[in-house]
């Protein structure tokens, strides 16, 4: 397997636009470390392209941005990229971070069944974040969304730094807790709402597969 990262960037609605734009920080981290990055943007975030790239490049780290369900993760316009009973084995022995709802419930465990040295970090609950409708044309300037998406980015960034899967998982969770503290210190009306959403993501985040998995 090769050291490198494949990252899906579907960008077909405001949710996928936000998570794709915030993924720039993950891409920048990889590039700063000389780790090759293959971006699957927009229409290239299709099943055919995804399978071709994953199998062809054989990069170890896969970052999946997109809508999901308990048994599938989607790409552009919700075309299914990975699904139980179809191609979940494509994630075997990879380090996968799935910023997709609920995929940690069934797809993650199934993908890790024959796994040896890989991991799946994802969510057992819908991933939640607030965003400012006045910032939708420039998501990276949206500090409300940043409160939620930076802790999420911390997971693949931690893997890129060479940390073990369990450390990356823990780093992500601790970042969420620090942002809950930060929000609550503001003592504004929206603080509790932000804390609720962050807590949802904290409780939903799961690490499956090999906790010692490393890039």
């Amino acid at each position: 397997m090769n050291k490198g990262v494949i990252i899906t960037l579907p960008r077909h609605d405001d949710v996928t636009e936000y998570i794709s734009q915030f993924s720039k920080e993950i891409i920048d981290e990889a590039q700063s470390r000389g780790i090759p990055v293959k971006e699957l943007k927009d229409k290239s975030c299709s099943l055919v392209e995804f399978e071709k790239i994953v199998n062809g490049l054989n990069y170890k780290l896969i970052v999946l941005n997109g809508h999901g369900s308990e048994d599938a993760i989607c790409g552009y316009k919700n075309e299914v990229l990975v699904q139980i009973g179809v191609n979940e084995q494509i994630l075997k022995d990879k380090l996968t971070y799935a910023r997709s709802c609920d995929a940690g419930v069934k797809l993650g465990p199934e993908a890790m069944k024959l796994n040896d040295c890989g991991c799946f970090i994802g969510y057992e609950l819908p991933f939640v974040f607030y965003h400012d409708s006045q910032r939708e044309t420039n998501p990276l300037k949206d500090n409300t969304a940043r409160l939620f998406l930076e802790p999420s980015n911390a997971i693949p960034i931690s893997l890129l730094k060479g940390n073990l899967a369990k450390q990356a998982h823990e780093n992500g969770k601790r970042f969420i807790l620090k942002n809950i503290r930060k929000a609550l210190r503001q003592k504004t009306n929206d603080a509790v709402g932000f804390a609720e959403g962050l807590w949802n993501n904290y409780m939903g985040q799961v690490l499956l597969g090999n906790p010692e998995a490393v890039l």
């Binding site: 609605d13 405001d14 949710v15 936000y18 809508h67 999901g68 369900s69 989607c74 997709s100 709802c101 609920d102 609950l125 819908p126 991933f127 939640v128 974040f129 607030y130 965003h131 400012d132 409708s133 006045q134 409300t144 601790r174 807790l177 620090k178 809950i180 503290r181 009306n189 929206d190 603080a191 509790v192 709402g193 804390a195 609720e196 959403g197 807590w199 949802n200 904290y202 409780m203």
Partner: protein, 88 residues
């Protein structure tokens, strides 16, 4: 309590929980923000309130999120978790 009054009781609790969540959304969420909930999409404050009122799938997800948080506050889980990062 017989079955009929038990059902009525459960419905009353359910309505109270709905009211509680709606009150929290009204108090906590500024109107310029949207909440993105997984694959369901992004919703304004008024849309969230409508979904909770309608008791549909989205409304139930929102209610679960609120109840999860309230429970964590009440049983100390939230405080314990926050204290674990207190010195960082």
């Amino acid at each position: 309590m017989n079955e009929k009054s038990s059902t009525a009781h459960r419905e009353e609790i359910s309505e109270l929980l709905k009211e509680l969540v709606i009150t929290r959304i009204e108090a906590q969420m500024p109107s310029n923000l949207k909440m993105s909930i997984g694959s369901y999409g992004s919703f304004t404050k008024n849309q969230l309130i409508q979904h909770v009122t309608d008791d549909d799938e989205i409304g139930r997800q929102v209610m679960k999120m609120h109840i999860r948080f309230i429970r964590a506050q009440a049983n100390g889980q939230l405080v314990d978790a926050l204290n674990s990062v207190a010195d960082e």
